[in-house]
């Protein structure tokens, strides 16, 4: 996709490595992403495929002595219109961006809230830091935020501790916290995975509403294809640290061009379908095997050991991202044959 005027985030060739005892592993390799204002980009993939590492790299929140960005650029359009390359910013400049230009929501609402401070305290913290607001103004702003994420009786809730809230409310609170300074980009790392379906529906609706109202860009990480279909405009499918397929959601889901995406779609039990399958004695179409370990990557295409379409050529070289159509790409040399 072209870098347009309202591109908020533009990641190019991102490579992130981890230092482990036996050397270095590449957790995320040559990732290109762009997210425009008002747009939601979904990042899907199995556990360990590098979704969180990608989002943490954008925030530059990798623990310094363990992980680091090894290559690539991350351009962010900030609130004041300036575009900075986050990779080359100094730590103190980066700190001014976190929570201010970029907000982040994490997966586990319980563990990502500090248990010993009140919700209001934690939500008002970014306002105090980035806007130099005094305690009272910041608290009022926090209450307003809680209200806007749909928490009834916000003033009282602001004085409560995380453990006194239900899971859904906690996640709303972390969303309020991420939005406190009106960021241009919201990164949500599996914000609904820990929640019940009914609550998940609430949160998804809330995020959509907030995005519409604020016009921010959203990078939404999930492993649930249903959620992707629900919320995202475009999707990036990751496998073993690389992008394997990317394109508009409707296009990719209707017409997946990578065996992994196809497998993922097929292995989801579909509501209302099961009774038929059971009667027919059909099994769920599972992808065999497991995600390869970073320390032990197969040669060539990372997915080839599990791929039923794999041919010798797949083992020889890493397939390039092939263009299915201008906005749809697949990292499979047989993309044309598979359906």
């Amino acid at each position: 996709m072209q870098q347009t005027a309202d591109t908020i985030l533009d990641v190019k060739g991102l490579r992130t490595v981890f230092r482990i005892r036996s050397g270095e592993v590449t957790a995320v390799n040559s990732i290109d992403l762009t997210v425009a204002a008002g747009e939601t980009l979904a990042l899907v993939g199995e556990s360990g495929s590098g979704k969180s590492v990608t989002s943490l790299s954008v925030m530059r929140l990798l623990t310094r002595n363990i992980g680091a960005i090894a290559a690539g650029s991350i351009h962010l359009k900030r609130k004041n219109g300036a575009v900075s390359n986050l990779v080359s910013l100094a730590e103190h400049e980066m700190r001014a961006i976190r929570g201010n230009d970029v907000g982040m929501v994490f997966q586990e609402p319980m563990s990502s809230l500090n248990p010993v401070y009140t919700i209001g305290d934690q939500i008002s913290e970014p306002i105090r830091i980035h806007r130099w607001a005094d305690r009272k103004t910041a608290m009022d702003a926090a209450v307003a935020l809680l209200d806007s994420v749909g928490i009834p009786d916000a003033r009282r809730r602001a004085g409560q501790y995380p453990h006194e809230l239900s899971g859904g409310m906690r996640q709303r609170a972390t969303i309020a916290m991420a939005l406190a300074c009106d960021p241009t980009l919201l990164i949500a790392d599996e914000p609904t995975t820990a929640l019940d379906v009914t609550i998940q529906a609430q949160i998804l609706a809330l995020l959509q509403k907030l995005q519409r109202e604020r016009g921010m860009a959203m990078l939404f990480v999930t492993h649930n294809l249903g959620v992707v279909a629900e919320i995202a405009h475009r999707v990036v499918v990751m496998y073993a640290g690389r992008i394997v397929e990317t394109g508009p959601v409707a296009e990719v889901f209707r017409n997946p061009r990578h065996p992994y995406t196809i497998g993922l779609m097929a292995s989801m039990p579909k509501l209302g379908d099961a009774s038929r399958m059971k009667q027919a004695g059909e099994r769920l179409a599972a992808i065999p095997g497991v995600v390869p370990s970073l320390m032990n990557m197969p040669a060539g295409c990372a997915f080839q050991p599990r791929c039923k379409f794999a041919i010798d050529a797949c083992r020889l070289a890493l397939p390039p991202l092939a263009e299915v159509n201008p906005c749809h790409q697949s990292r499979c040399i047989r993309w044309q044959e598979i359906r």
């Binding site: 482990i20 005892r21 360990g48 497991v290 390869p292 370990s293 032990n296």
Partner: protein
């Protein structure tokens, strides 16, 4: 995930050993303690002075070529006494640590796993023991037990377990709710199984920390007992009663080698044991290989 490892992998004990050997400070500690024990056991072969031979002419001699560590107030060779005292101190410290670890673990574990009533009774008892001032406890136990190595071990063991019992209890209360313990119960596990198959391995880190602290503590308690005229009967040397010599201002000030050497050995031993403890904790934790 390491799921795709070669088919045959060595057994758990070999791997614990392997993990221990990977730990550099642990190895350092092991070397230190091994050297120390080797010296302690072999010194009669290479050192001509005996720990209890007095020499009133050479008393309070400074460290020098004949007496490397100097001599004490009756002319006994400090090096020989430090090494000989090491036998007793380490023996007392290790055995009493083991015994108090056993008592503390059993009481804490039973309290956590054997139901509410047992818990209430044992915990009140532990509280009671912990409110009792140690001097009195020490004095009474010691005067009942008398002097010598085994009474000393007995006294020190009895004095040291309550804190461990508490720590083990709180760990196991948490463990009790864990799924794999639930699974064991679901397969019909009784108290002994829970205690030894689950409670023990999962308290290893607590036990190791306790043990490393307790060894230092035991040596010091032994010194305290000698101070009260109990503990290791003189003239047998122990690091504790050698340190006691520093009570005399003359020794403290003018003959510092008489307490610096046993004190130094004590600190070295404790340091080494701490290192080993850290190594052991990792060795017993299969997850440690990951990073």
């Amino acid at each position: 995930m390491l799921a795709r490892n070669p088919a045959r992998s060595p057994g758990p004990i070999v791997r614990s050993l392997h993990r221990f050997l990977l730990n550099r400070t642990g190895l350092l500690g092991l070397c230190m303690i091994a050297l120390m024990i080797a010296a302690i056991l072999s010194y009669p072969l290479w050192w001509s002075f005996k720990p209890n031979d007095i020499d009133l002419i050479a008393m309070n001699a400074q460290p020098g070529p004949t007496h490397w560590f100097g001599t004490d107030g009756v002319g006994r060779d400090i090096l020989a006494r430090v090494l000989d005292g090491g036998r007793i101190s380490l023996l007392v410290a290790l055995t009493s640590t083991v015994i108090s670890a056993i008592i503390g673990f059993l009481i804490g574990a039973v309290s956590a796993l054997a139901g509410r009533f047992a818990d209430a009774v044992t915990m009140r008892f532990v509280d009671l023991v912990m409110t009792l001032p140690p001097v009195i406890f020490l004095l009474v136990l010691a005067s009942i037990a008398g002097t010598g190595i085994w009474p000393t071990v007995f006294v020190i063991s009895l004095l040291s377990w309550p804190l461990l019992a508490r720590m083990v209890r709180s760990r196991l209360l948490e463990l009790r709710e864990r799924d794999f313990v639930m699974a064991a119960r679901g397969m019909g596990a009784g108290l002994p199984h829970l205690l030894f198959r689950h409670g023990l391995p999962n308290s290893i880190d607590i036990l190791v920390v306790f043990a490393t602290l307790q060894i230092a503590n035991a040596i010091l308690l032994e010194a305290g007992l000698s101070f009260l005229g109990l503990g290791i009967a003189p003239p047998a040397a122990s690091w504790g009663n050698m340190l006691n010599a520093a009570r005399s201002t003359a020794v403290l000030e003018q003959y510092p080698w008489q307490w610096l050497f046993p004190g130094g050995f004590l600190v070295l031993a404790v340091l080494a044991i701490n290192f080993i403890g850290d190594g052991l904790r990792d060795a017993f934790d299969p997850r440690a290989e990951l990073n």
